[in-house]
C-alpha cells in the first residue's frame, strides 16, 4: 500500500508565526518526497479547522497525517478524532509540538524555524512507521467484592449495594462487626451509642443486594477492573467446607487490623500478673459492667498504659489515647473514688472535640504522666508496680489494676491478599496507598481499593469516610450498561524472541505480565497493561515493544534530531 502523507502546519492564530517562519517551513517540508501535500492553516483546532482537515484527508486520500501545532497534551486527541471521522485509523497520525516546545521557547526566529522543521521531519519519518491500532471495548460486571466485614466493609457494602449492583461481603469470622463490634461504646462525644454499629450490621443483613458469607476467605482472585474472578472458601463451624466462584467488577479490601501482641515486650508484664489486662479485655469488663480484680474485689486504683507497641512498631496508633480517656471517664463517672492514672508517651488529640474531652478527664481528677517507656512491671503484694522511664530518670507507681492499650498492627491476611493481587505493602506491613496524599484509597491495580485500618491505624469516622471514597471510585468507574476501553498503546511480546527470563514480570507494577510455562514465554494482559513501557526497557532480547512508541518509531526521531 502506498503511503499518502499530509502535513498541516497550524499557525495557532498569531502564536506560531510570531516566532516561526511558517512559509519557510512549508517550503522545506514540501521538498520531501515522502509527503503528498503540505498546507498551513490559521487555527486547526477550531471547528472550521477540523472540517478543513477532514475534507483534506478525504480529498487527498491521505493514509497518514502529521499536524504541526501545539503540545499533544492540548489537541492530540482532537485531531485523532478528526482522522477517525475521516475514515482513517487515528493512530496513523502524529502531532508535532512546534508551539510550546519551539515557538514559545526559542526567541531567535531563525533557530526556532529550523528546529520546527527538524521536528516536523521527525514526525513525518515517525508516522511512516506507525501501525494502525484498534480500540477494544469490554463488557463489565459492576458488582463489588468486599473483603472484611468490619465497620469499614459494612459501610462500603451499604453505600454500593443497589438494584443494579450486587455486593459480595466476605468475613473470615462467624459474625460481622469486626473490632468496632467489640467496643463498649463509641466515644460519647462522637455521638451515638454502640448500637449504631449493630444497626449497620442489621441493615447489611437485611439488604438483599448484599450477599454475606461469614467464616469465609478469598482463596483466589484474578482479573482487572470490571472483570474479576474470585474463589471464596467457606468453612462454617457446623456444616462442610464449600468453595464458590464469583465474578465481580471491583474489589474492596477492608481487612482491618489486629492488636499488638503484648507478650512481645515482657516489660508490660501481660499474662504474668492477672490484674494486668489488655484494653480489649477491659472493654469486655465494661460491657458486662463488672470492673473487678481477679480476687473479686473492686480496684482502688487503675493505671492506664498508652502506646504499648508504639516504640516496637514505630508508629502511633492514633486511637488509644481517646479510648483510654473513654476508660478514665467511665471509671470516674461510675466509681468516683477510684484513683486513675494514665501513662503516655505522647498525647494524640487530633479532632476538634478531643481537647475538651481531655480537659474534662483532668477535671474529674485523672492524673496524666509522661513517660518514654515502661521499663518493667512486677507484682508487689496485691498490687502491680510499674517502673517507667522519663528522659533518663526512672520512676515507679503502684496500682491494683493495669490496663494496657496495644498498638494496631496489620491483620494476618494482609500479606496473603497482597500476594494474590500483587499489591505493595508499607514498612509496617499495612497495605500501601497508591499515593499517600493524592490517591489514598486506590492501589496500583485498577479496580482494587482499600479502606479503613487495612491502610493503617484509623478511628471509625475516618474509616467511614474512606469506605465512602472507595464506593465513589467504583460508582464512577463501573456504570451499569457502559463498557470500558482499556489502554491501546500497550506492550506486546514477540514470542519467538522471548527467552522466558521473566525480568519484565519483575519491573511491571500492574501484574500485567504473566509467564506461560507451556510456551516458556511471557504474556501481556492487554486489559491490565497501562503502556508505561518499563518492561520494554528491561528486555535484553528486544522481544517487547510498546505500541505507538516502538523502537523504530522513536529512533526515527533520534535520527532527525541529529541530522
Amino acid at each position: 500500500m502506498n503511503k499518502n502523507i499530509g502535513v498541516y502546519v497550524c499557525e495557532c492564530g498569531p502564536n506560531i508565526p510570531e516566532r516561526i517562519d511558517i512559509d519557510k517551513v512549508v517550503n522545506e517540508i514540501s521538498s520531501m518526497d515522502e509527503v503528498k501535500t503540505v498546507k498551513k492553516y490559521s487555527l486547526m483546532c477550531s471547528n472550521d479547522g477540523k472540517k478543513f482537515l477532514k475534507q483534506e484527508i478525504e480529498k487527498e486520500e491521505l493514509t497518514h497525517v502529521v499536524v504541526a501545532a501545539c503540545s499533544p497534551k492540548d489537541h492530540e486527541n482532537t485531531f485523532m478524532k478528526v482522522c477517525e471521522e475521516a475514515g482513517m485509523n487515528p493512530y496513523l497520525f502524529q502531532i508535532v509540538n512546534i508551539r510550546e516546545q519551539c515557538a514559545w521557547m526559542i526567541p531567535d526566529k531563525e533557530e526556532a524555524t529550523s528546529k520546527a522543521i527538524q521536528y516536523i521531519q521527525a514526525g513525518i519519518h515517525r508516522v511512516l512507521f506507525h501501525e494502525p491500532l484498534e480500540k477494544k471495548e469490554l463488557e463489565i460486571n459492576v458488582d463489588a467484592l468486599v473483603i472484611g466485614g468490619g465497620i469499614s466493609g459494612i459501610e462500603a457494602s451499604l453505600s454500593l449495594a443497589g438494584p443494579k449492583r450486587k455486593v459480595h461481603l466476605v468475613e473470615k469470622t462467624d459474625s460481622l462487626g469486626g473490632m468496632a463490634g467489640k467496643l463498649s461504646q463509641i466515644l460519647p462525644h462522637q455521638g451515638s451509642k454502640i448500637k449504631s454499629v449493630k444497626e449497620k450490621i442489621e441493615q447489611a443483613k437485611n439488604n438483599e443486594n448484599i450477599n454475606i458469607s461469614t467464616s469465609s476467605e478469598v482463596k483466589e482472585i484474578r482479573g482487572f477492573l470490571g472483570n474479576f474472578e474470585a474463589v471464596i472458601k467457606s468453612t462454617p463451624e457446623n456444616g462442610e467446607e464449600k468453595e464458590q466462584e464469583i465474578k465481580t467488577g471491583a474489589v474492596i479490601l477492608a481487612t482491618g487490623f489486629d492488636l499488638f501482641d503484648l507478650k512481645e515486650n515482657p516489660a508490660y508484664g501481660y499474662e504474668k500478673n492477672e490484674n494486668i489486662v489488655s484494653a480489649l479485655e477491659f472493654e469486655d469488663m465494661i460491657n458486662s459492667e463488672k470492673i473487678v480484680l481477679k480476687n473479686g474485689k473492686k480496684p482502688k486504683s487503675v493505671a492506664l498504659i498508652h502506646c504499648a507497641g508504639r516504640k516496637e512498631k514505630g508508629y502511633c496508633s492514633k486511637v488509644c489515647c481517646l479510648y483510654n480517656l473513654k476508660f478514665a471517664h467511665y471509671l470516674k463517672d461510675n466509681f468516683p473514688d477510684i484513683d486513675v492514672k494514665e501513662l503516655y508517651m505522647d498525647l494524640c488529640l487530633p479532632h476538634k472535640q478531643d481537647q475538651s474531652y481531655f480537659d474534662q478527664a483532668k477535671e474529674k481528677g485523672v492524673e496524666f504522666i509522661r513517660m518514654d517507656e515502661v521499663v518493667k512491671t512486677k507484682s508487689s503484694g496485691d498490687q502491680v508496680e510499674i517502673e517507667y522511664k522519663d528522659n533518663d530518670k526512672t520512676d515507679k507507681l503502684k496500682a491494683d489494676m493495669v490496663v494496657v492499650a496495644p498498638a494496631m498492627v496489620p491483620s494476618k491476611d494482609t500479606s496473603h491478599l497482597a500476594e494474590l493481587l500483587n499489591l505493595p505493602l508499607d514498612k509496617s506491613g499495612f497495605f500501601k496507598e497508591l499515593h499517600e496524599m493524592l490517591d489514598p484509597v486506590a492501589t496500583p491495580m485498577e479496580g482494587v481499593y482499600i479502606t479503613g485500618c487495612a491502610l493503617g491505624p484509623k478511628n471509625i469516622p475516618e474509616s467511614m469516610t474512606q469506605s465512602h471514597a472507595t464506593s465513589g471510585k467504583i460508582l464512577s468507574s463501573l456504570i451499569p450498561g457502559r463498557k470500558i476501553v482499556p489502554e491501546v498503546k500497550v506492550s506486546k511480546i514477540k514470542e519467538e524472541l522471548c527467552t522466558g527470563c521473566q525480568t519484565c514480570l519483575s519491573v511491571c507494577f500492574y501484574g500485567a505480565i504473566s509467564y506461560d510455562p507451556f510456551k516458556g514465554v511471557s504474556v501481556v494482559n492487554e486489559a491490565i497493561c497501562r503502556g508505561c513501557g518499563n518492561c520494554v526497557g528491561s528486555c535484553p532480547s528486544g522481544a517487547i515493544h510498546s505500541k505507538h512508541f516502538t523502537y523504530t518509531q522513536l529512533y526515527q526521531e533520534v535520527l532527525d534530531a541529529l541530522r
Binding site: N97, W104, S114, N534, G537, Y551, L554, V558, L562
Partner: protein, 140 residues
C-alpha cells in the same frame, strides 16, 4: 544555525517532564535550541540502547528526564530509569568515555523553572565538552 550550538537529545516522560517543558514554553522561558525533546510515556521506557545509539550517532548530550521519585505516574518507573542511568554512567566512567554526555534529571510538571535551569546549565556544560568525537569517528 550557529555551529557552537551543541545537539542535545532529551527523552522526556509524558506526565511530568514533557508537561514541565510545555509549561516552560507557555511561560515563555528561554530554552536553548540545542535540546530536541522526544516524548516517552515513562522515564522507565528509556532503553539504555536509545541513549547509547544517540551517543554513538553523534549527540553531544543526552538528557533523560522523569518524574521525581515517588511521583511516577506509573508508581516506580523512574526508579528503573535511575538504575539504568547509573549503569550506563558507570560503564562510561570505567571505559573512560565522556560520562557527562549522558545525564538524568527529575523535572515535575510544575517545574518549568527547573526545566529551563537544567537545560541551560547542561547546554553550557556540553559546550565546554565540545563536539562529540563520535560525530567524526569512522570506525564505530
Amino acid at each position: 544555525m550557529n555551529n557552537n550550538m551543541p545537539n542535545i537529545i532529551g527523552f522526556l516522560c509524558n506526565w511530568c517532564s514533557y508537561t514541565g517543558a510545555d509549561l516552560a514554553g507557555t511561560s515563555r522561558m528561554k530554552i536553548p535550541p540545542s535540546l530536541k525533546t522526544i516524548r516517552v510515556m515513562c522515564s522507565g521506557r528509556i532503553d539504555p540502547l536509545f541513549v547509547l545509539k544517540s551517543f554513538l550517532k553523534g549527540a553531544d548530550g543526552v538528557m533523560m528526564m522523569g518524574c521525581h521519585p515517588g511521583d511516577c505516574h506509573y508508581q516506580k518507573g523512574n526508579y528503573n530509569a535511575r538504575r539504568r542511568y547509573v549503569m550506563m554512567n558507570k560503564i562510561f566512567e570505567t571505559l573512560g568515555l565522556e560520562k557527562d554526555r549522558i545525564g538524568l534529571w527529575w523535572v515535575s510538571a510544575s517545574e518549568a523553572n527547573r526545566f529551563a535551569k537544567v537545560t541551560n546549565e547542561y547546554t553550557e556544560k556540553v559546550k565546554k565538552l565540545g563536539s562529540n568525537p563520535t560525530k567524526k569517528e569512522i570506525f564505530l
